[in-house]
Symmetry: C2
Subunit: 114 residues, 2 copies
């Protein structure tokens, strides 16, 4: 299992996989149930599920003959936190930090003097 930002973002870049996640937001579901809305083959869905699982976005259970999937929020939280660092760029309530940007500018290895 990877669960890096790379693999999480990559997993989310596919619309089928995002649709699967949205379905799982309503509760756990079997592979067959997840496959139902799509015109894809069952192996294709299984592959998507594998990608989602390896990214840490879902996990598989075991119930008789089926292997129900369910959401695993950790990975989503991870990228949510990542995005959080940029929140100040669009969130008004962060904009009280008007001078923040200019103060931060060139604070690290970049000594540009514009």
């Amino acid at each position: 299992m990877d669960s890096s930002l790379d693999s999480i973002f990559s997993a989310l870049s596919d619309p089928t996989r995002r649709a699967i996640l949205e379905r799982l937001a309503n509760g756990k579901a079997t592979v067959a149930e997840l496959a139902d809305p799509f015109e894809l083959s069952q192996p294709a869905i299984s592959k998507h599920l594998k990608v989602l699982e390896q990214a840490g976005l879902i996990r598989s259970g075991r119930e008789a003959t089926s292997r129900p999937r369910e959401l695993q929020p950790d990975a989503l939280k991870k990228i949510s936190d990542w995005i959080g660092d940029y929140r100040r760029f669009w969130d008004q309530s962060f904009d009280r930090l008007d001078g923040y940007l200019s103060k931060v500018q060139g604070y690290e290895d970049d000594k540009s003097e514009d």
Copy 2:
């Protein structure tokens, strides 16, 4: 320019591109400045920038002979909103909605009766 969830997530799935965004969070920068930290060729960086721009994550300016890039928060906000729909899965303060899940279950085009 695309700016779909597909292209935004896809753009973010590459570590070089995320690093470029992080650099741009400190303010605008030229291509040369952005390329500096990496061991990649200049065309490779230009490609990454194109991907970021087409996803709506950055935009290019024009300043004499250089084309400085700067962050464009819209795309980030877009996926932040998307993730927001899942917030309840990890955020404690959302967990007062204990019954929420069961109520939502099967609320749309999905009429599974489990």
